[in-house]
């Protein structure tokens, strides 16, 4: 009897899986053809992609970039792609892109809105990454690089180009050395942007900022004596007196004495296109933040009257369409302001849009407040902090952090909604500028091109902002449970 036996000492190499279970085929089986319904969906999807691409590709491929009128475009397309071929006439955009971007802003002065746009990111960086050296520096430097490229693209003269480059480099260096100091840029940004956009004497915006400075000084010196709310009241009153009665004389005198610090003035009726969208969007959102915080606090207040007023305002504004607010700005405001007061439509629109946005921001912040556990407020109370100290040191920093994605999406919504200002006669990029351009007989027949151009730019801005807000949401997700 042979008792030889066989023990395998080596493992068999694993066999290759069946062809259907590897690589592309497996992936396709699992992801595209897992059952009949999925297969159907796959083919439907493929058909939709094919239909879209085959339908629009010739039109895009036949596009003409240089021509002086739509008729010339058509002639070129007919010559190159054959009679009856359709094609885009991008020449319209090529000739008039500056109006889509800047409206009727002086072409020599394009560096001003662009510089303000670049500074916007510098001003935002300490808000988003307070006292974090690397991200602040990267954001500032990135904004600088993009700014210089944009300035070069619109053909800015060398002097302003280098001025902007040096300024942005200095700010990037500041962000690296003392990221906290960048907060001063944020505080100065409203006045800077105003000066860059509207021009005129530099002393007017400085005077306005001084008003805020005076208010802060008064508040600081009084707060320990008479308490928070009375001090705030007195401070506000002082600032109002400064703006109403003193500032005009001081800045007028300074403007006469030192006239060289000024830029050519641009009237706001020369704003248009995406410049207008950004001016309305950014100023409305930044103005609505403080109002929104106050409204959100008011809505949670124990005081019946304050709560009622806040809820009433928020629900009223959220209950009416934005268009009615815009028409209020253009038609109704004149009935409710003192007779013979008159200031320009863009400003009125900004004010009304800010009020509109503040109701939405208030709800976003209320969401942030609601996400905080009650224990936070109780802990603050037990430490003996008063209401405003608790809000400033404990509640708001946490609530605002939770609310940032909501604020960003409010901004995206508002930015898209700025296209509605065309309905009250302002030159928004979608309808206003398009109408102006199409009033020129050469471009009258252009139809789809402005839609696609403006839509693409809106998409780029809104998509990147929404992606950024999603990224922030992920990053800020330190659990509150």
């Amino acid at each position: 009897m042979s008792n030889s036996h066989f023990v395998r000492t080596q493992m068999l190499p694993p066999q290759k899986p069946p062809v259907g279970e590897t690589g592309v085929i497996k992936w396709m089986r699992e992801n595209l053809f897992s059952n009949w319904f999925n297969t159907l969906l796959t083919f439907l999807g493929l058909w939709a992609v094919y239909a879209l691409v085959s339908g629009s590709a010739p039109w895009f491929l036949n596009g003409v970039w240089t021509a002086s009128s739509v008729d010339e475009c058509r002639a070129i397309i007919a010559a190159s792609a054959g009679e009856g071929a359709s094609g885009a006439c991008w020449a319209m955009i090529n000739e008039r892109w500056h109006q889509f971007m800047f409206g009727f802003f002086d072409r020599e002065e394009y560096w001003r809105p662009l510089l303000a746009f670049g500074l916007l990111f510098v001003a935002l960086s300490p808000v988003l990454y307070f006292n974090l050296r690397r991200p602040t520096m990267i954001m500032t430097a990135g904004a600088g690089v993009v700014l210089v490229m944009l300035l070069w693209a619109v053909g800015t003269d060398g002097w302003h180009l280098s001025l902007a480059a040096v300024l942005m480099a200095a700010l990037a260096a500041l962000a690296w050395v003392a990221p906290k100091k960048l907060l001063w840029v944020t505080l100065a940004f409203p006045a800077t942007a105003f000066f860059l956009l509207w021009g005129g004497s530099v002393w007017a915006p400085i005077g306005v900022m001084l008003g805020f400075g005076i208010a802060v000084l008064v508040w600081r010196s009084l707060v320990s004596v008479i308490g928070v709310s009375p001090a705030a009241g007195v401070a506000a009153l002082t600032a109002l007196i400064w703006w109403g009665f003193v500032q005009g004389h001081v800045t007028g005198f300074l403007a006469n004495a030192l006239p060289f610090f000024s830029l050519p003035a641009e009237d706001s009726d020369r704003f248009g296109g995406f410049l207008l969208s950004f001016v309305i969007g950014v100023s409305a959102i930044s103005a609505s933040l403080p109002i929104g915080i106050l409204l959100a606090l008011g809505r949670r207040s124990d005081m019946f009257l304050i709560k009622t007023l806040s809820v009433g305002f928020i629900e009223f504004v959220r209950g009416v369409p934005l268009i009615t607010m815009l028409f209020t700005a253009s038609l109704l405001l004149q009935y409710f302001l003192p007779p013979q007061t008159n200031f320009d439509l863009i400003l009125r629109v900004i004010i009304l849009v800010s009020l509109f946005a503040s109701a939405y921001i208030a709800e976003v912040i209320r969401g942030g407040l609601a996400a905080l556990p009650r224990g936070q407020q109780e802990a603050a109370d037990s430490l003996g902090l008063d209401y405003w100290q608790a809000q400033r040191l404990i509640i708001m920093p946490q609530a605002l952090k939770v609310a940032i994605p909501g604020i960003v999406s409010s901004f995206i919504g508002l930015f898209k909604d700025t296209t509605l200002v065309a309905l009250v006669g302002l030159a928004d990029p979608l309808q206003g500028v398009t109408k102006v351009v199409k009033a020129d007989i050469a471009w009258k027949a252009a139809y789809w091109e402005p839609f696609i151009f403006v839509g693409a730019i809106f998409f780029i801005f809104c998509f990147s902002m929404s992606r950024y807000s999603m990224y922030l949401e992920q990053k800020l997700k330190t659990d509150h449970r």
């Binding site: 897992s34 369409p321 839609f451």
Partner: protein, 433 residues
């Protein structure tokens, strides 16, 4: 505050209004009230002064004057001899029509896209992502204008549907054909759909100058009645099931109850569809400019409806996706462990729970749809903004009255919607003990 009980009593000093937390909130409220009243008074005084300066008054009597303009889509009878007040209601009903239709369509699109975005099918998931990102990151106004342009520029003209003598002679077909069994014609002027007509209608009664169609009322009553009976049948079936464990077969009863009475009513009233068509002579040659018969939906309506539902569909899709993702995976796994099939898991376990997360954003989307229907003014959809806030305002020059009335109506609409949806929200909310 906890210390209220041991605060000294009796000796009230004026400074306590500021320093004592018991009285401070009172002080603050009085100051705020004073400021608020002063502000309102300031506005009213300005209003009075401005009206005097412009030599105007506030009067709503224009609502009873002849409007003089035409509205291309109307749900209640209206001619240019009707009053501005009636035009207001035509506009209001147009607002409601497009908003309600768009709410339904957006929900449908949104739920489909939201579920499909989570699909394991790679192509479909990506396509839905592209759809959602593209549509929600571009202004709604652009989609409205684009939809309107596509209808006007791309669809065939009505005359392409016409049969000419030449075509009859040579046996040719006209260049454009109606779709859906030769019943719906999409032209660049509007969508012509079949109209439901009755040979023997019940007539109508007029309540407050608004005619109420008795036939429609009868149909609603019958349908509601059959649903009620069906509900009773199902309830008794359930009771039997709970008693005996065996569910009696009810589907044929339900079918019978749901279909027979309605069909009988429709037959009795002589229901038929009137298909839009060109008037034709004896040879089959078409005459006239436009389709005759059927209902013509203006493109301003269709475009606004499509743009609103597709744009807001993306937001609803995101809400649905968020709601589904918010349900923990354990729920799905538990359902599988119980042996439920995937689609029953979705229907019975996931969606009912996700609904609680989905409903609040859904409410705000419905509100947004209603408010954004005002953008129809860009394509001259004559909704409330188009009639009261547009042409009426323009013809009468009564901007103050028109705008205030319009804001009030929109406010009432919004508050009604949020009230209704909040009641629904409370009914699906987790009942906590």
């Amino acid at each position: 505050m906890a210390m209220v009980s041991d605060a000294p009593k009796g000796n009230f000093r004026l400074s306590m209004l500021v320093y004592d937390t018991r009285y401070r909130s009172f002080t603050i409220q009085v100051i705020v009230l004073g400021l608020f009243i002063a502000f309102v008074a300031w506005l009213l005084l300005n209003l009075q002064a401005n009206l005097a300066a412009k030599d105007k008054d506030i009067s709503y009597s224009f609502l009873f004057n002849r409007a003089g303009y035409d509205i291309d889509q109307q749900l209640i009878p209206y001619t240019n001899d009707s009053t501005h007040g009636r035009a207001l209601f035509v506009g209001l009903f147009n607002t409601l029509a497009v908003s309600i239709a768009a709410c339904f369509a957006a929900t449908l699109i949104g739920v489909t896209a939201g579920v499909l975005r989570l699909s394991k099918n790679w192509i479909v998931g990506r396509l839905m992502t592209v759809y959602i990102e593209v549509f929600r990151n571009v202004p709604l106004l652009l989609w409205i204008l684009l939809a309107f342009s596509i209808f006007a520029q791309v669809m065939p003209e009505p005359k392409d549907f016409k049969v000419t003598q030449e075509m009859v002679d040579q046996g040719l077909e006209p260049p454009a054909q109606k779709i859906f069994f030769d019943s719906i014609a999409i032209t660049n002027r509007g969508t012509n759909v079949p109209a439901p007509l009755l040979d023997r209608p019940l007539g109508s009664v007029s309540v407050l100058d608004v005619p109420i169609n008795l036939s429609v009322l009868a149909a609603i009553a019958v349908i509601w009645g059959s649903f009620w009976v069906n509900g009773r049948i199902r309830a008794s079936a359930k009771a039997i099931q709970e008693d005996t464990g065996i569910r009696p077969v009810t589907w044929w009863k339900s079918l019978l109850v749901l279909i027979v009475p309605t069909t009988a009513l429709l037959l009795a009233l002589g229901f038929h569809l009137e298909v839009p068509a060109f008037a034709a002579d004896e040879n089959g040659v078409s005459k006239g400019f436009n389709f005759v018969g059927g209902i013509s939906l203006a493109h301003s309506f269709t475009a606004l409806f499509l743009a609103l539902s597709i744009y807001h569909g993306t937001y609803i899709a995101e809400a649905v996706r968020g709601g589904i993702l918010a349900i923990s995976r354990g729920q799905t796994e538990a359902a599988y462990a119980l042996g439920l099939r995937p689609n029953r898991t979705m229907n019975l376990i996931i969606l009912p729970q996700a609904l609680r997360v989905i409903v609040p954003p859904l409410i705000s989307q419905y509100l947004n749809i209603t408010k954004n229907s005002t953008l129809g003014m860009a394509i001259s959809y004559l909704d409330l903004k188009g009639t009261l806030g547009g042409i009426t305002l323009n013809q009468t020059g009564r901007e103050l009255e028109c705008m205030l009335l319009m804001m009030l109506i929109y406010l009432i609409l919004s508050l009604t919607i949020s009230l209704g949806m909040n009641i629904f929200n409370n009914s699906v909310k987790l009942k906590e003990r």
